[in-house]
């Protein structure tokens, strides 16, 4: 024989509290993940900004060091130092020449390429950072994912 039955009020409370807690936990987990990802993005962005500034500073410093070095080895400075060390320019009659058949003069100095060449820029960023989800799926579908 069936018997009347009713849940105890505390049980309703427990259930509703659990449901709410579940939602909250879900939100907290999602929020946490979102926050973690965003904080990583933010810190990466901040690091990028810092690195950009540092790069600019290093480029400036490098330029100044190059200029300082060039001034130190300028012909005037070298001549002065050579004179100080007791050297003097050689005269034609003081030089012994030896003819070498087939000797070829080297091609000479070649200047370095500018710092921001296209090749360097392309090599800076991995395609993983620019590939969209669709591109990744299509690449995965055709078996190109290694």
């Amino acid at each position: 024989m069936p018997q009347a039955f009713k849940q105890a009020p505390w049980r309703h409370q427990v259930l509703s509290t659990s449901r709410t807690a579940l939602w909250i936990v879900g939100f907290v987990v999602l929020g946490g993940v979102y926050l973690a990802v965003n904080s990583k993005v933010a810190s990466a962005g901040r690091e990028l900004l810092v690195l950009e500034r540092r790069h600019e500073l290093l480029v400036r410093t490098n330029g100044e060091l190059n200029a300082t070095y060039a001034a130190l080895i300028s012909p005037d400075s070298m001549m002065e130092r050579a004179s100080y060390l007791g050297f003097r320019p050689a005269l034609p009659i003081e030089i012994q020449y030896l003819l070498v058949e087939g000797f070829e003069v080297s091609a000479g100095f070649e200047a370095p390429r500018p710092l921001t060449s296209e090749e360097e820029r392309q090599g800076m960023l991995s395609p993983s950072y620019t590939e969209t989800l669709g591109e990744w799926i299509s690449r995965f579908a055709i078996g190109g994912d290694q």
Binding site: G45, L49, A67, A70, R113
Partner: protein, 648 residues
């Protein structure tokens, strides 16, 4: 679950029996019970779940002091944080920097920036840096951050550190910039012409000012900031200054290589949107960089040539001068010195000349002169090539000749009697060359040859500011027959030193005239490019060139022995030119010059020495030829050219 059940069972057993509800009691009544264990039964009547009230600190009627103190601490902490946030919000909204924050907010999450690529570097042929990039700092003021104290302190500090007029700085800072919507200004100073220029300070001064800004006990410099700015520097100072030109504060190149290759060197500035919120930061595109240049200059030769030029200027009392060294085979300019020298690091004085004349930078291409007797090389080459004279053709020099009604005399006013063409060149006889031009060549043939030598036309050299020179031909309305006579020995015709070098190089280089150039290699992002030698023409045959070279080598060994060098066979010609003015030729001053090349059998260098208004002697053979000798003595060492006896 079992453990929980057994725990509940224990709890149940530990409670008094009166608390246990009977199974047959109405459910409604049982539900009304406020506290105590509740029991739900199923149809079987067995107990399935039991609920137990959690132990509560309040249920027992007592207070937990630990928990309450914790709550107070947490509440206090949160309160402090909240108050801090409120204070910060009020400060941002209403504080002294509120306009700055507001302006920044108006801009949005990013700001547009113009990114200027690093200017290309310039090297000499051995890789020594001639033009580099450094940093200067411009002084900017955020006008909304100025305080009463900083309005007074900034001019005071800057005037003392930078030795600038206090009043001018004070005026700049105390204008009502904000009402003019000027929130950021650049402090300026006046140049020599009175025009405002941004104040640029080097890194050392910037470090001092930064220390002032960071020191809380230093004068209040609120609002002042130092903004890095690219600056061109020339590590060798005055060395090759006229070749390089200079770059102004707006990063624009003028004169010389900087001017000619300005667009190549400066790259292409771009405008980027730089995010100010870190999560939106991303890698910014780099602007296309300027190319690097390798010049044909050899800095050792350049330094030697500048030293010899300065010495010659001082010893001869000249006011100015030039020495140019070129490889006649390919047109490469190995050295180009001009006096007064130009320091590209401090170019401003050059722009304001005392006499009000326009400044001439890189005079080798930007200033013309009447070459005088060095031009006879071209006249004689024309005559030999046309076949109207031979080296031993005879001429009776009477000391004067009339051409077009104009009486022409020799440099010494004397009659040299019977002469061959060799003697005419050796003694530099004006009368003889005027005779060759007027009686042998004729106007049509002579000017045709001069045209072939490129006289009166641009050479197309890669130095900024080249001018074409002046040559009146018979087609010119002002041309008269007397021009034919004077032009034959280099008067009445104006040309640049590089133009003269180019024409004479054709004689040294088997009759092949090549374009002079200063850049040997251009290196860009996509690779290196080396300009090829450009042949401008073949004005004379190789035979004519050899013949004239031999004539000039012989004459140099005789009359102009001051220019010869033991062990090396050289060819050359002196020049002494009168200087034209508004009222005819200057009776006192001359331009003394010498142009020569060597070794004659295999010419590897061509040297032009030019001294303006020498005091010690007006003659090129006296003041310019010895300079040529000194230069060549060192030049053969630098170029590793063995004596003729070694090469056979």
């Amino acid at each position: 679950m079992r453990l929980w059940k057994s725990k509940l069972a224990q709890d149940e057993q530990s409670r008094p029996n009166s608390e246990t509800a009977p199974a047959d009691e109405p459910l409604k009544k049982r539900a009304a019970r406020p506290t105590g264990p509740l029991v739900a039964t199923n149809k079987i009547g067995a107990t399935s779940f039991r609920g137990v009230d959690p132990p509560s600190p309040t249920s027992s009627g007592t207070t937990n002091p630990v928990s309450r103190s914790r709550i107070r601490v947490v509440t206090l902490g949160m309160g402090v944080i909240t108050v801090g946030l409120l204070i910060q919000l009020i400060r941002v909204q209403f504080g002294p920097y509120a306009p700055v924050f507001a302006a920044r907010g108006d801009v949005g999450s990013s700001r547009l920036e113009r990114v200027i690529p690093a200017r290309g570097l310039i090297y000499d042929r051995d890789g020594r840096l001639l033009a580099a990039n450094a940093t200067s700092y411009v002084l900017e003021v955020e006008t909304r951050q100025l305080t009463a104290a900083s309005r007074a302190a900034i001019p005071e500090v800057l005037s003392k550190v930078l030795l600038l007029p206090l009043g001018d700085l004070h005026d700049q800072l105390n204008r009502d910039w904000v009402s003019q919507n000027q929130f950021r200004i650049r402090l300026t100073r006046s140049d020599q012409a009175g025009d405002p220029l941004p104040i640029n300070v080097d890194k050392y001064v910037a470090a001092v000012l930064n220390e002032f800004l960071a020191d809380p006990y230093a004068p209040d410099l609120s609002g002042l900031s130092l903004v890095p700015n690219p600056k061109r520097v020339y590590p060798n100072g005055e060395l090759a200054g006229h070749v390089l030109g200079f770059v102004n504060q707006e990063n624009e190149g003028y004169f010389g290589v900087e001017g000619y290759y300005d667009e190549w060197l400066s790259g292409k500035p771009i405008t980027i949107s730089r995010p100010m919120i870190p999560p939106e930061a991303h890698a910014q595109p780099n602007p296309p960089a300027g190319v690097n240049l390798v010049l044909t200059l050899d800095m050792d030769i350049q330094q030697m040539v500048e030293y010899e030029l300065t010495s010659a200027i001082k010893s001869s009392g000249s006011v100015s001068g030039e020495i140019i060294v070129m490889d006649p085979r390919n047109g490469e300019i190995l050295a180009l010195a001009a006096y007064p020298s130009l320091n590209p690091n401090e170019y401003e004085p050059w722009l304001v000349q005392e006499d009000g004349l326009e400044p001439v930078i890189t005079p080798a291409v930007g200033a013309m002169f009447e070459p005088g007797s060095t031009f006879k090389v071209i006249t004689m080459a024309s005559a030999l090539d046309a076949g109207v004279v031979e080296p031993d053709s005879e001429f009776l020099d009477t000391g004067e000749i009339e051409v077009g009604g104009n009486l022409i005399r020799n440099w010494d006013g004397e009659a040299w009697g019977p002469q061959t063409m060799l003697g005419c060149m050796e003694h530099s006889l004006n009368v003889c060359l005027a005779w060759v031009a007027s009686e042998k060549l004729g106007a049509s043939t002579l000017y045709s040859y001069l045209n072939a030598f490129g006289i009166g036309r641009l050479t197309g050299t890669d130095l900024s500011g080249e001018i074409a020179g002046q040559l009146r031909t018979p087609r010119h309305p002002d041309w008269t027959e007397s021009d034919l006579g004077t032009n034959s020995f280099g008067q009445g015709v104006s040309m640049t030193p590089v133009q003269l070098m180019t024409a004479v190089a054709a004689v040294a280089n088997d009759g092949v005239m090549v374009q002079p150039h200063i850049v040997r290699q251009i290196v860009g992002p996509s690779g290196a490019y080396s300009p090829k030698t450009i042949v401008l023409g073949r004005p004379v045959t190789p035979e004519t060139a050899h013949t004239l070279s031999e004539m000039l080598a012989t004459s140099l060994e005789g009359e102009t022995a001051y220019a010869s060098l033991a062990g090396y066979r050289l060819a050359g010609k002196t020049g002494t030119a009168q200087i034209p003015g508004d009222f005819g030729y200057d009776p006192r001053w001359t331009i003394a010059s010498f142009i020569g090349w060597g070794p004659v059998d295999d010419p590897q260098f061509l040297v032009l020495v030019r001294l303006d208004k020498p005091e010690t002697s007006p003659w090129g053979s006296v003041v310019a030829a010895p300079v040529f000798q000194k230069v060549v003595r060192r030049l053969v060492v630098f170029l590793e050219i063995p004596p003729d006896a070694v090469t056979g």
